[in-house]
């Protein structure tokens, strides 16, 4: 097996609740190499965040990774001890959240917090740790890092706080960053600045980046690869150009068609009918079946992944390569 930075096979993360088993993640396969950005897209509740938490070993009870293989640089993460997982987290693998205050402590100067973070994983002097913190702030585009390092989180705007959170994630030059909708709450010009920084950092530092988002436009511009989630499964994945220009799964096609930018004014927007199924009441077989115009008897069974390691979909009646979804 050639060694990927991250290789996930058949991941299932379930929550046992009094009302039944919530299959939040129910069959996720992913591959990521160094220097690559994978966009993980899907609507709310499709399982994007829980996928991210599962990779980091951060799923809280009643949730549990019940099945699957997670290999990080060849190492089996599910078999790793809790101690080993903690050592990897915040060192080799880092996570960025939508709300930077999940990462930042409101009563600590950001420098204090960053120095602590450096020293938690490495034996370095305080001045060396401070130098690294300052460099990381500069790297994410914070002006005058030498002065700003002594500021408190409240002295930064929302966009700058998110940059600080990204700088903290970068402190140990991780191999993999999992970013969970970090620009969703930001304004478009600020989002754009951060995407630009993140894009070049990933390239320059040779990291792997998983960018979770509900915004196909952001992912199209940022990522090399896309994985589309629906009801806990990856229903389609591949290179950005393949998935966005030549989608094979009816759900991907439907999402792309419903974007206002892809529709003529004065015509009704092409819409996907219905709602995503509630997690405790998913239809039998293909979960997209009740909303799908191509559904047939065959779809009462669960479609397996078809395709190659690089380009795959889960559908019994995939769209033709060039076909237009009627």
């Amino acid at each position: 097996m050639s060694e990927h930075l991250l290789e996930v096979r058949g991941l299932r993360t379930w929550f046992e609740t009094p009302k039944g088993t919530v299959k939040a993640v129910d069959g996720v396969d992913l591959t990521l190499n160094r220097g690559e950005i994978l966009g993980l897209v899907g609507e709310s509740g499709s399982g994007k965040s829980i996928t991210g938490f599962s990779l980091l070993g951060l799923v809280d009870p009643p949730g549990k990774v019940v099945e699957g293989d997670i290999r990080f640089q060849g190492e089996d993460l599910r078999a790793a001890s809790a101690r080993r997982q903690r050592a990897l987290r915040g060192n080799r693998i880092a996570m960025i959240f939508q709300d930077p205050m999940m990462t930042l402590n409101p009563v600590l100067r950001i420098g204090t917090q960053m120095i602590e973070t450096v020293q938690a994983h490495e034996k370095v002097s305080k001045s060396e740790a401070r130098r690294r913190a300052r460099d990381a702030l500069g790297m994410v585009g914070i002006p005058h890092p030498e002065e700003r390092i002594d500021a408190y989180p409240h002295e930064f705007s929302g966009g700058m706080r998110q940059r600080v959170a990204i700088a903290i994630a970068l402190l140990h030059k991780p191999d993999l960053i999992i970013a969970d909708e970090p620009t969703t709450a930001l304004d478009v010009t600020i989002q754009s600045q951060i995407l630009s920084e993140v894009q070049s950092l990933t390239r320059d530092l040779g990291m792997g980046l998983i960018w979770i988002s509900h915004d196909l436009g952001v992912v199209g511009q940022l990522a090399n690869k896309v994985a589309v989630m629906y009801a806990g499964r990856i229903v389609e994945r591949g290179a950005v150009d393949d998935v966005l220009d030549r989608p094979r799964h009816p759900y991907t096609r439907g999402l792309l068609d419903s974007l206002p930018m892809e529709n003529d004014r004065g015509q009704p927007l092409r819409q996907i009918p219905g709602n995503a199924p509630p997690p405790l009441n998913r239809p039998e077989g293909c979960p997209f079946r009740p909303r799908c115009a191509r559904a047939s008897e065959a779809c009462l069974a669960e479609p397996a992944e078809t395709g190659t390691a690089a380009r795959a979909w889960r559908c019994f009646h995939p769209l033709e390569q060039t076909g237009v979804f009627a």
Partner: protein
């Protein structure tokens, strides 16, 4: 469609607030790390008219004053200065029955339907309450009215006795829309009404709003930070920056021939699936605080084309074409178009046929 008298006319509207604080700041204030807040200039001399039947999209980044403007034209806020007229009448001077009629005729639909729907009330009461209280329907007719409204917004009338939590996000937004329609408004303010919804559900709600607008001859102020949605739904687009209107024009014209550098920057940064490997970010710098905005043109610290004059003199809104106003000192106060900024099928066609 031109009407001598606009339906809504805001003239020189000013609104100041004492600044709001966020959680990080409040914690910092409690432990003595931050100062008490000062004055926010939320609306700084805003003039804007809306014609009967028009859909006006109001766009700008957070904190630029969009919601404040919406509440001001709905008569929900006392103004610091200026005047809002509804059919020519100053809404602050309306009394009694006239004031009530104006308030009912203007309805706001907010972003988060859950926070504006009483969780302990059934849909029947939520939608039926206002028309009943205001005597728009006889007691015995409420159920009928609510069933009709539910049908109109695409909700199954059989769910009339359910509570808000038993509905999905998209359905709750439909409840919010039905509640607004229940008092027969002619003017709807949608304040980020679809921002919290998933893409596929957004499309459904947008289609609903477009249909209702036609069926009920509604006038719409559509507030959104999302230019791609605004482009789809609006007849005219108004762009705000830090409490001021910087540009206003018919939608196709904004997308094909925006003249203000800020509008152009916003257009360039719309995430679009047809722009792979796009180099992001044409605007540098942060959005300044509305408490202490930069002098002259508010946009000057971030503007790639700023000149000396921009730092000291406020550019006033100036007609730069039919129905096209812009506030920028460039080229004699008319701003400067940026060629091939946003070619789309419909704007290209319009340009070819000489409409722009």
């Amino acid at each position: 469609m031109t009407d001598a008298q606009p339906m809504i006319e805001a003239a020189g509207v000013i609104k100041n607030f004492r600044r709001k604080t966020d959680l990080a700041e409040r914690i910092a204030m409690r432990v003595g790390l931050a100062q008490e807040p000062g004055t926010v200039h939320a609306l700084d001399d805003v003039s804007l008219s809306i014609r009967r039947g028009e859909v006006v999209g109001l766009v700008g980044e957070s904190g630029c004053g969009k919601s404040t403007f919406g509440r001001a034209v709905a008569g929900m806020l006392p103004l610091t200065g200026g005047v809002v007229r509804r059919n020519g009448q100053d809404i602050a001077k309306l009394k009694g029955a006239e004031a009530r009629a104006m308030r009912l005729a203007t309805q706001i639909i907010f972003q988060d339907p859950m926070s504006s729907l009483n969780p302990r009330k059934k849909v029947l009461e939520i939608i039926g309450e206002a028309p009943r209280l205001h005597g728009l329907v006889a007691r015995g007719g409420v159920r009928n009215l609510v069933e009709g409204l539910m049908d109109q917004v695409g909700l199954d009338p059989a769910m009339i006795n359910r509570y808000p939590h038993q509905f999905s996000g998209g359905q709750r937004q439909r409840i919010g829309i039905a509640r607004a329609l229940a008092v027969n408004p002619d003017f709807l303010i949608c304040d980020e009404s679809i921002a919290a919804l998933d893409v596929s559900i957004q499309a459904q709600v947008i289609n609903l709003l477009v249909r209702l607008r036609q069926d009920l001859s509604l006038t719409l102020l559509f507030i959104s930070h999302d230019l791609s949605v605004v482009r789809y739904i609006s007849d005219r687009v108004v762009i705000m920056y830090l409490g001021r209107v910087v540009e206003s024009a018919p939608t196709d014209r904004v997308f094909a021939a925006a003249r203000h550098p800020y509008t152009q920057a916003l257009l360039e940064e719309i995430p679009r699936i047809d722009r792979r490997g796009h180099r992001f970010s044409s605007v540098k710098g942060e959005i300044p605080s509305p408490m202490n905005p930069p002098g002259g043109c508010h946009f000057h610290p971030r503007c790639p084309l700023a000149m000396d004059r921009c730092r000291v003199e406020r550019p006033m809104l100036k007609q730069a074409g039919r129905d096209h106003a812009v506030a920028c000192h460039l080229d004699g106060g008319f701003g400067r178009p940026k060629p091939t900024l946003f070619p789309t099928q419909s704007t290209l066609q319009a340009a070819e046929s000489g409409l722009l």
